[in-house]
Amino acid sequence: MHEGQGTGVGGGGPDLSVNLAGIRLANPVLVASGTFGYGREMARWFDLRLLGGIITKGTTLAARPGNPPPRIAETPAGLLNSIGLENPGVDAVIGEEIPFLRQFGVPVIVNIAGETVEEYATVAAKLEGVEGVSGLEVNVSCPNVRAGGMVFGTDPAATAAVVKAVRAATSLPLLVKLTPNVTDIVEVARAAQEAGADALTLVNTLKGMAIDVQLRRPLLGAVTGGLSGPAIKPVALRMVWEVAGAVNLPIVGCGGIMSGRDAVEFLLAGASAVAVGSATLVNPLAAPRVVREMAAWLAEEGFAGVSEVVGMARGPGALRPGDAPGGGGPA
C-alpha cells in the first residue's frame, strides 16, 4: 500500500505528507530527540507548524539531572555529547510540556528511555491516552547512560524484550530508535520488527571520545559521549540502506542531516521520513530550512510526492517502495 496522501504545501506543489506508522505528518521532516528540548525554546524561533513532527528529549520515569560536565566537545564535522538523558521525568512532561506542545497541532512523538524493561513499559503506559502524544520513540540506543540505554539496543534479544513490553503497555504507534554501535544493525532491526515495532529510527549517536591534552584526561565528564553531525551521515545512510532492504517497516533516517539535499539522500536510501538533530544546535532555523529545500528539490525534479522518492536509489531490480515484504518504503 502506498501512503502519503494529502496536500503538500500550497496548491500544486509536490505532496509532502507522509503516513508514518499511522502518524500523519504534513511533511517528512521531524526533529531529533535531544536537540529540540520539549519545543518551548524552539517556538521562539519559528512556527513549529512548519515541521512534520517533533520528537521530544528522552524522557524517563523519574527526573534525571544528567551527567557531570563538560558534556559537549566539538569534533571536525560534528560534536560529542554526554548529556546523560537530563529530563524532568515523565509526570512533569505530561503535566507541563505536552500541554504546551499540543497547541501547535504538530504530531509529538515522545522519546522514552529506562534502566529496566519495566521502566520503559511504565513510562509508555503513563503516556497512553495523553492528549497531544501521537507516538512513542523507544530509545534503546543512548550511549550516555550506564544502566539501560544502549545496553538494550546492542543485543537483539534485549531490544525485543523492551519493545514487547512497551508494545503491551501502549496502543500508540511505536518507533524504535536503534544504535549504530553494533556489528549488524539488520539483526537488531529484525528483532524490533518481530517484537512489534511500527517504525524504526536510524540512527542514534556513535560512541566516541575526546581527550584534553593539557590535562591528559578525557575531556567529557562522562569520559565517552555520542558522536553526531555530518561526521556520521555516511554511517547512518548505510544503515538505513541495509535495514530498508531487509525489514518491512517505515524508517526515520537520522544522522548528520544539515540540508534538504541530505534529507533527500536518506529518502532515496529508503527512509520514509527524516529527523534533523545537531543542525538545530548550529542554526536554530535548520529544520524548517530542510523542509523548504527538500520541497524545492522535489518540485524541481518534478516529483508529485515524497513517496515516489522513497527507496529510489535502490535501483533497478531492487525492491521498490510498496513491494512487500522487504520493501524500503512505508509498510
Binding site: 518551548r40 548550529v282 536554530p284
Partner: protein, 279 residues
C-alpha cells in the same frame, strides 16, 4: 518584538587590541536593539561546526552595532579575529539572563583578562541610573589590561592589577580587592559586586565578598552546544547539588548558587590560550 534573532552581521572593524586579543564591531541591528548587558551571542565562525558564545562588549542600538572583545583561545576564536571589514558573521541571540539592574549605591565590577568583555555596557547602564561604578581589573601584564579606556569613558573608576607589576597594583585582583571593598563599604554600605573571569579568580572573589558581606553575582562559562536551552550541554555544578545551565539560567548567577570550586576544576587548565590572533 521577537526576543531572539538569527542575524547575518556585517563586520565593520576587527582590530587587535592586545597580544592575542581583538575587538570586532559588527553591524547587527536586530541584536543591537535587543541585547542587554551581560547577555551573549552565538557566533558562527565558518570554519568550525558549533557556534561560539561571546559576550556583548558594546551594544549600540542607535547605530545598529554590537561589538565583541575576543581572546584567541583556540581555532574558532582565532578565525573570528581574522575577519575583515565587510565580511559576514553569522550571529544568534541575545541569549542568557544578563546582569541584574542595580540602582543607587556603588557597584563593584571585578574582571580577569577577557572577563572584562561584558562590563562596558554594565557600566553605561549603571552610571545612567546614577550608580557609581568601580572596576578592579586584573591581567598578567600591562599589555593585557583590556578595555580600561572603554570603562573609564563609560564613567567607571578603574583600579588595575598586574601579576608582574607592570601596570597598577602588583598582584592579582584578590590582592587589590580587600582594600577596595573596605573603601567601598566605608563610603556606601549596601553595595553589590559582579565578577567575570577565570573560575579560580571567581572562587577568590566570592570568598572575599562573602567575608565583606557584599552580595556577588558571577558570570560563568561552559562548553555550549546550542546556547539557547535545547541541548542541556552547558551544565555546571550547583551549590545545592545537581546542575545549573549557563545558557538559560545564566550566564550570570548569584555566587552562592554555583559550586564555584567545581566550576574551577572544569577549567583548571584554561590558560592564556595560544594567542596568535589575526586582527
Amino acid at each position: 518584538m521577537k526576543e531572539w534573532v538569527e542575524e547575518d552581521g556585517r563586520v565593520l572593524t576587527c582590530a587587535e587590541v592586545a597580544p592575542g586579543h581583538g575587538c570586532i564591531e559588527v553591524l547587527a541591528p536586530g541584536l543591537a536593539a535587543r541585547a542587554l548587558p551581560g547577555q551573549f551571542a552565538m557566533a558562527r565562525s565558518g570554519t568550525r561546526f558549533l557556534a561560539r558564545p561571546l559576550s556583548f562588549f558594546d551594544i549600540d542600538p542607535g547605530r545598529g552595532v554590537v561589538a565583541f572583545l575576543v581572546r584567541a583561545a583556540g581555532e574558532g576564536t582565532r578565525a573570528l579575529l581574522c575577519l575583515r571589514p565587510g565580511d559576514g558573521l553569522g550571529l544568534a541571540g541575545p541569549f542568557g539572563n544578563g546582569f541584574p539592574l542595580v540602582s543607587g549605591g556603588t557597584l563593584l565590577l571585578v574582571a580577569g583578562g577577557v572577563g572584562v568583555a561584558p562590563f562596558p555596557p554594565v557600566v553605561r547602564r549603571a552610571t545612567a541610573a546614577g550608580t557609581g561604578v568601580r572596576v578592579v581589573l586584573g591581567a598578567r601584564t600591562a599589555a593585557l589590561l583590556l578595555a580600561t579606556a572603554q570603562l573609564r569613558d563609560a564613567g567607571a573608576e578603574v583600579v588595575t592589577c598586574t601579576e608582574d607589576g607592570s601596570g597598577g597594583v602588583r598582584g592579582t585582583v584578590s590582592d587589590a580587592l580587600p582594600g577596595v571593598l573596605r573603601d567601598l563599604l566605608a563610603g556606601a554600605p549596601g553595595g553589590c559586586a559582579f565578577a567575570c573571569g577565570p573560575p579560580a579568580m571567581l572562587v577568590a572573589v566570592a570568598r572575599l565578598c562573602e567575608e565583606a558581606g557584599v552580595p556577588l553575582y558571577v558570570s560563568l562559562e561552559a562548553r555550549m552546544g546550542c546556547g539557547f536551552g535545547v541541548c542541556r550541554g552547558c551544565a555546571v555544578p550547583a551549590a545545592a547539588g545537581g546542575y545549573l545551565h549557563v545558557c538559560q539560567d545564566g550566564p550570570v548567577f548569584p555566587a552562592r548558587a554555583a559550586d564555584l570550586g567545581g566550576v574551577a576544576r572544569l577549567w583548571e587548565h584554561a590558560g592564556d590560550g595560544d594567542g596568535g590572533g589575526c586582527a
